[in-house]
């Protein structure tokens, strides 16, 4: 589905992504783990067209998509969420979701003015879908609140909700679970699995929570210092010498215990 070839992203002299190559199989839920600062988010940013790569290529279904703008990738069905939740803060939660579906007929002035009925019907349809998504994520009670005022965890859910508003092919989730409570985390995990099975979304999931990764992701890719270290099932990754070293090498010994578990 997605192939990344020898991707580099340099910030000045700093190599945030340093020759990463990986492949995401269609229909998979791939986990992406690695210590803080490994370059995971930067990799997402390059794939999603937010940052231009220094060198390297990205392919989607065999087509070279390197350097395409985010809205062009969106049209191809490539979506992502932000690690630090983004929202249109002056719009309501529902309006935030309603912004997503592409090619709405209200977009050109002619139909907005002269074909109000059609536009309204379409809008109602989208509104219904937004409400379904909100209910699914158990945040339907805040539908009419301004998105700028909802809690951090709720913003995370809104991020996820956005990817459910349109027919995506591949979705990149950057720590959707961070800051969300356990019960809701399970809901999110279920949502991801369901979208994967029912709608055939391919997922790439960055998470620090290994339970979460272990529950839904296969395979798991581990990055460190801008490079892909290992790929395999979570157990294989946990047993990998290089991976252990990478986590230890950052000096975060307790992180190993917390994240990779008993090694």
């Amino acid at each position: 589905m997605i192939r990344v070839e020898d991707l580099h992203k340099h910030f000045g002299g700093f190599h945030a992504v340093d020759g990463a190559s990986l492949e995401i199989a269609e229909g998979s839920i791939t986990g992406l783990i690695g210590p803080n600062g490994a370059g995971k988010t930067t990799l997402f940013n390059v794939i999603a067209g937010v940052l231009p790569p220094t060198s390297g290529k990205v392919f989607m279904a065999g087509e070279d998509i390197t350097g395409l703008a985010p809205h062009e990738l969106f049209a191809k069905g490539l979506l992502r969420t932000f690690q630090i939740a983004h929202e249109f803060h002056s719009m309501t939660v529902r309006e935030n979701l309603m912004m997503v579906p592409p090619r709405q007929s209200g977009e050109d002035l002619w139909s907005a003015w002269f074909q109000r009925k059609r536009v309204r019907l379409e809008e109602e349809e989208i509104r219904r879908r937004a409400d379904d998504v909100l209910k699914f994520l158990t945040i339907d009670h805040i539908a009419d609140q301004k998105a700028g005022q909802i809690s951090g965890g709720q913003k995370k859910l809104l991020e996820l909700g956005r990817t459910m508003m349109t027919d995506a092919k591949v979705v990149f989730l950057d720590e959707v679970g961070a800051g969300v409570n356990r019960t809701l985390l399970n809901t999110i995990a279920d949502a991801i699995v369901r979208l994967n099975q029912e709608r055939g979304y391919t997922f790439v999931v960055i998470e620090h929570d290994m339970d979460f990764i272990g529950r839904i992701c296969n395979p798991v890719i581990c990055m460190a210092e801008g490079k892909v270290l290992a790929e395999g099932t979570l157990d294989e990754i946990k047993a990998n010498e290089q991976v252990i070293e990478a986590y230890l090498g950052t000096g975060l010994k307790n992180k190993v215990v917390k994240e990779v578990g008993h090694v």
Partner: protein
């Protein structure tokens, strides 16, 4: 009683009605400034001069129509020539964007660089306008001058004071209200308008929600251009057309946008009227107004004018300074649409 009526008529004639018209013109200009600021994220210094440039085309159009013997009944012919001016200005702005601003957007330049670039566009536009129509004053108001004349008013009411209502004043207010109404409808009700608000709110997220940035930029220039030509034409009809005066309008435009809260369309409108009424109120000689209300022996000697008319921009400047010191975000806390 009659004294109070007379005083009110004086107030309406010299402050309220002209202030309403002037305020509408400033509001239209400030709306453009605020729109460009919140979406393209820079202070557009070429605003006044592009307004002059666009109005020049409306004037040419008016002359052309007059030459052909086409008129708009009691309304000024210039209204018929508006589409020409608007079309030219939109093309001009899109060309400027293509040649100048787009490059800086690509390299993600700082807002200050954009401001400097817009100064460059301003100088070029200024030169073009002078080449085209010259620096002198032009009048292009035709149609019916007065809806209510001073003498008629006195005869109807029997009051000592007269009131004049000029056609251009009514047209200004009506056109401005229509334009504002359409703008708000567009921003709040249509998907394109919402896309613009989304883009102004959070650019990264807008892009990742599939909003096409080129389209947003395109629409922004088109709306701003329309507002510029409207403001310029209405100002020219109401007062007179001179390129340098239009350049000077930059100050009240920015003052209005900042007072209302840069980035807030409602703020730009409210700010426009505040600036207009402040300018008129502070530079108006209130003697005549009070002469109807106060007994003669109470009347002071002077004109009861806070500042001479020449200082009206000082008033605007003063408001601007006060707002920037005490409430830099403006009345409506701007930033996003």
């Amino acid at each position: 009683m009659e004294n109070i009526l007379n005083a009110l008529v004086v107030l309406a004639n010299f402050v309220l009605i002209p202030g309403l018209a002037y305020g509408s013109q400033i509001a239209l200009g400030a709306l453009g400034i605020t729109l460009i600021y919140s979406i393209l994220r820079f202070a557009h210094f070429a605003h006044g001069d592009i307004m002059a440039f666009g109005t020049a085309f409306v004037i040419f159009g008016t002359w052309g129509l007059q030459y052909l013997g086409i008129s708009f009944g009691p309304l000024p012919t210039a209204l018929l020539a508006l589409p020409l001016g608007i079309a030219v200005i939109i093309l001009y702005l899109l060309t400027a964007d293509r040649l100048v601003y787009r490059f800086y957007r690509r390299v993600k330049a700082k807002p200050m660089i954009f401001v400097m670039a817009s100064l460059g566009v301003m100088f070029v536009t200024n030169g073009l306008t002078r080449l085209l129509i010259g620096p002198g004053e032009r009048r292009f108001d035709d149609g019916q001058r007065f809806i209510i004349g001073v003498r008629d008013f006195r005869e109807w009411t029997g009051l000592a004071e007269g009131l004049a209502l000029r056609g251009s004043q009514v047209i200004t207010v009506v056109v401005a209200l229509i334009a504002m109404g359409l703008l708000f409808w567009f921003l709040n009700r249509t998907k394109s308008g919402k896309s613009m608000r989304a883009y102004s709110d959070n650019e990264d997220l807008a892009l990742l929600s599939g909003i096409n940035p080129d389209r947003v930029v395109w629409i922004t220039w088109a709306i701003a251009g329309t507002l510029m030509v409207l403001a310029g034409t209405l100002y020219g009809l109401d007062k007179s057309y001179r390129p340098f005066t239009y350049f000077m309008l930059l100050l009240p435009f920015f003052a209005a946008a900042i007072v209302g809260g840069l980035g807030s369309p409602i703020g730009a409108i409210v700010g426009g009227y505040i600036v207009a009424f402040a300018e008129m109120g502070i530079t108006y000689a209130w003697r005549r107004f009070f002469s109807h209300l106060l007994p003669d022996e109470w009347m002071p000697a002077g004109l009861m004018q806070v500042l001479p008319v020449d200082y009206k921009f000082a008033v605007t400047f003063g408001i601007l300074v006060v707002v920037l010191i005490f409430r830099p975000t403006g009345i409506f806390r701007g930033k996003t649409l």
